[in-house]
Symmetry: D2
Subunit: 91 residues, 4 copies
């Protein structure tokens, strides 16, 4: 089965590990009553980090899985599925 | 010191715990080569969850910390600090 | 040449007309010194309206133009071009 | 009545004029059947431009109107109204 490139998978896992640590950091900030502005900036940074993960997954997905389906003549189904995911991602 | 209401703090911690679990879930999805659309939908859901956390922090922050500063005559400083955080949050 | 469906084109034009009117409305609000919160809510509504236009264009584009390229064996080029646009749209 | 600074008002009007022209441009692109990727990039640019307008209005609003209310002892009401607008803006 075609899937995301191995180095892309590794990159995403590294990013998600960092994001997971950052989420734990925000919990600690709340517990230590860190000023809310710093918390809001961390939340913004987390959202940006996740946006980047989404773009990386999507970009490689188009180049691997969708491309593979297209080459196998299953492009229509792959594009319909992609459209549903994009609709959610863009909301 | 004035800070976020205790029940708001608890609510945010609960939400961040759920978000942390969801981030671990996305890592597992990558490792198990789950289809990318499901991953993208999870990333969108994570971003929405973090957006909700940001709105809750901001809302309670205005009602507690900023309001308290205003009442103490330190409103100008509090609003300037808030403006910087909002600028990041809205990007 | 394959392009967006005609009824989709009409729907988008109608939405853009409404958006254009709303932009003019915001200018008038500034000139009449309407309260800023109402202006911010209009700006948020405009952004949501444009997001909806983006999703409609993208959705129909996938079903028409990209699908057509795929069927002509030009899927790879179409997907690469799409990836670049999505990268911008998701930022 | 305190309101947005005059030069900020002018800057916002200039930006909204540019945005209005850009919206008309997108309509023309649809009518001329310009490729959808270019349209999506314009829509993304429009959304970014409106986001910038929102940030400018909000920033000056905090420094002028809200600050003025705070100085008049009407801070609580101003912050509650601001909270409602921010909730919409951050969605």
């Amino acid at each position: 089965m075609t899937y995301l490139d191995e180095d892309v998978q590794k990159d995403i896992i590294t990013r998600l590990n960092r994001i997971e640590g950052q989420v734990r950091g925000v919990k600690k900030m709340i517990e230590e009553q860190t000023d809310c502005e710093s918390i809001l900036i961390q939340v913004a940074s987390l959202r940006a980090g996740l946006g980047q993960v989404g773009r990386i997954v999507l970009d490689d997905h188009l180049r691997t899985c969708v491309m593979d389906c297209v080459n196998k003549g299953e492009g229509e189904k792959a594009l319909a599925k992609l459209a549903r995911a994009l609709d959610r991602l863009l909301k």
